[in-house]
């Protein structure tokens, strides 16, 4: 039963958690908005028909019920089929992305009743073992653009259309830096699998944000833009566009757009944490490698891409005291890899560690989401030309620089490491921070984003506007 029941349970858990999570993130967003503006925020709705207010925790339920019972109006001039498909496209893809995003490490098999027949560790991903995890995320995530474009087009309304056009331009422009930002990480870890990327960082004990700060900046900015959060919220610039592409939507279709927007933010936060902040890893708390061994191949050496999975290895068959001692220390001789190549055995994971990892991962994601929400009120929105300038003239060059720096370091970094006499991670971090500083300095000096499109105090010359005949 396990092969069928387990994924179904995980999917059910994931969808329920995402839906309630999105609802409560709306509440959190409103709270933070209120607190930043010296207000209290929603604090009235509690348990219905009683006087218990629970700090307003009933608000998401009330919002959801309100949305469901609102009149769902379809204007007569819209393209009915596309009008219906567009919110579905963005909503479904925003959920489906989470199939490969891990929400923890693994659960040990030994806590369950014997009748359940669980002998293998349970991996906390809806679709475990997808080798092209990152590509999947990007492929599915890109479909979200269709929701925006189709919504704007199907509405058959010039303002929705303008909103849809400029947001599709934004989303497509920022796909490039988003991809460039992760390329460095993929190159350094040698895998496209999200769980492998986490375990690489955990085993090295160094998060990618320290070794590739430039890549992190590029990815973070691009993730903000992809999630259409301020200061990149041109798709639905509330003050100017009357809602942008979803002007004509109401009722449950509008709710789909709203929920999808929050799920994009959650997905972006998960990706930032997994790719750059070590996922579930926290020094000295989460056990650097227990439970990671048999799932990613016996060797985590970078030269070897992860082998085919060897799920038959149950932890009881493997040496229980494998690598813990011999990971951090004794691999100075094998300095050719970005991270120490440890030929580790398998340390079976314990329940406290498994739960701690879930908590650590979710806490990190929450912290990133809080930053997303604070950022909304901290900086003014970019103008459209500034948005494009930042995307094309700053973020893409930075992403390329990061990629080149990481690639060169992967090839020649061992010489630098030997020269400096430090650990590989330290020399990589040194190079990474120098790259960040230099490229930031270059952008600051040449200032490609300053606008030269201001009106000039000059009368139109004779030939500027040729007369129509």
């Amino acid at each position: 039963m396990q092969p069928i029941l387990e994924p179904l349970l995980k999917i059910a858990l994931l969808i329920v958690a995402l839906m309630t999570g999105a609802a409560y993130l709306v509440l959190l967003e409103r709270w933070i908005a209120a607190w930043v503006q010296d207000r209290l925020g929603p604090n009235r709705v509690g348990i219905p028909l009683t006087k218990y207010r629970l700090f307003g925790l009933g608000q998401p339920l009330a919002d959801g019920v309100k949305f469901l019972f609102k009149a769902e109006f379809t204007p007569s001039h819209v393209d009915k089929a596309l009008f219906f498909v567009a919110p579905l496209a963005i909503f479904i893809t925003s959920i489906v992305v989470f199939a490969v995003i891990p929400f923890g490490s693994v659960l040990p098999p030994d806590g369950f009743p014997a009748s359940w027949g669980i002998h293998e560790p349970i991996r906390l991903v809806a679709a475990p073992g997808v080798d092209v995890g990152m590509i999947y995320v990007f492929a599915v995530g890109s479909i979200a653009v269709y929701g925006v474009v189709l919504g704007g087009w199907a509405s058959n309304n010039k303002y929705s259309f303008i909103g849809g056009m400029r947001s599709s331009a934004q989303l497509i422009s920022y796909e490039l830096p988003l991809g460039l930002g992760i390329l460095g990480v993929v190159l350094a870890s040698g895998s496209l699998r999200l769980d492998t990327i986490i375990s690489q960082q955990a085993q090295a004990g160094v998060w990618n944000v320290f070794t590739q700060p430039l890549g992190f900046v590029v990815f973070c900015v691009a993730a903000f833009a992809e999630a259409a959060r301020l200061p990149f919220d041109l798709p639905e610039a509330e003050q100017e566009l009357v809602g942008g592409y979803h002007t004509e939507y109401s009722g449950i279709k509008l709710m789909m757009y709203m929920v999808a927007e929050f799920l994009h933010m959650v997905a972006a936060a998960f990706l930032i944490v997994i790719l750059f902040f070590g996922g579930w890893h926290l020094w000295g708390v989460t056990g650097d490698q227990s439970g990671t061994g048999p799932f990613f191949g016996q060797q985590t050496s970078l030269a070897n891409t992860p082998q085919a999975e060897n799920m038959d290895l149950s932890p009881s068959e493997t040496p229980a005291q494998g690598g813990q001692s011999h990971f951090r220390g004794g691999n100075a001789g094998e300095g050719t890899d970005a991270f120490p190549a440890a030929k580790i055995g398998t340390v079976p994971i314990t329940w406290p560690v498994a739960l701690l990892r879930i908590i650590v991962l979710l806490a990190k994601v929450m912290a990133v989401i809080l930053f997303f929400m604070m950022a909304r009120w901290s900086w003014p929105r970019f103008r459209y030309d500034q948005l494009m300038d930042v995307g094309w003239k700053v973020m893409i060059p930075w992403g390329l620089v990061n990629l080149v720096v990481v690639a060169v370091w992967m090839e020649y970094g061992d010489r630098l490491t030997r020269l400096l006499g430090v650990s590989p991670a330290k020399s990589m971090a040194l190079v990474g921070w120098i790259a960040l500083f230099m490229s930031w300095l270059v952008i600051t000096v040449i200032d490609p984003t300053s606008s030269r499109n201001r009106p000039r105090p000059r009368l139109p010359a004779e030939g500027d506007f040729p007369e129509r005949t």
Binding site: S378, D447, S450
Partner: protein
């Protein structure tokens, strides 16, 4: 409008310095500002449990009331000055001459009294001109600000309702003439103008 119009002031956009162009300073500034506000004391007044503290209830222009004199009679003498002064025409008075009435009222010292006195609170713009016009300080604006009702009819206040507003508020807000005597004012004007 042409670019050489005299009314256009052309401003040259100041070029940002190195710190500004690096965006780092602006980044930290924005974030520290929001963080400061996040932890600051909140301004919200949790109405209706908490009430707004009015800066000066004496000059606040809220719901009307009709004052009573020492014997508990309505002070109004039905002179129509308030209805005349009202720019929104929301005051409607039917005067009665109590000497010629079938049942004489208990007002031997007055010529007229208001048989009905209605204010349409929905039409009222709360300008306070009725209060200024009244020669006997019968109509006054209280500091009650949360006026609401479930129907339009409910919001048309008659004489009894306006007198009941007085009964409700007389302790918290004594009549302005009385208050002024206590505070040593002789002239009415400082209270009704903004001071």
């Amino acid at each position: 409008m042409k670019p050489n119009d005299k009314n256009i002031a052309w401003i040259k956009e100041p070029r940002l310095g190195l710190a500004g162009r690096s965006y780092l300073l602006l980044f930290t500034k924005g974030l520290t500002t929001t963080l400061k506000h996040l932890l600051r004391r909140k301004q919200t007044v949790q109405s209706p449990e908490q009430r707004h503290e009015l800066p000066n209830p004496l000059i606040y222009r809220g719901v009307h009331r009709l004052n009573r004199d020492e014997q508990g009679r309505v002070k109004c003498v039905a002179c129509f000055l308030c209805a005349t002064a009202c720019p929104a025409h929301c005051i409607d008075i039917v005067a009665a001459d109590h000497r010629s009435a079938a049942v004489p009222g208990p007002w031997p010292d007055r010529e007229k009294y208001p048989q009905t006195f209605t204010i349409d609170e929905l039409r009222c713009i709360f300008c306070g001109m009725c209060e200024e016009a009244c020669p006997v300080d019968a109509i006054e604006l209280t500091s009650l600000y949360d006026l609401s009702g479930k129907s339009r009819e409910e919001m048309i206040f008659d004489k009894e309702k306006l007198l009941s507003v007085y009964d409700q508020t007389k302790d918290a807000e004594p009549m302005k003439t009385k208050r002024m005597k206590d505070e040593g004012f002789t002239d009415l004007r400082p209270l009704t103008s903004d001071f």
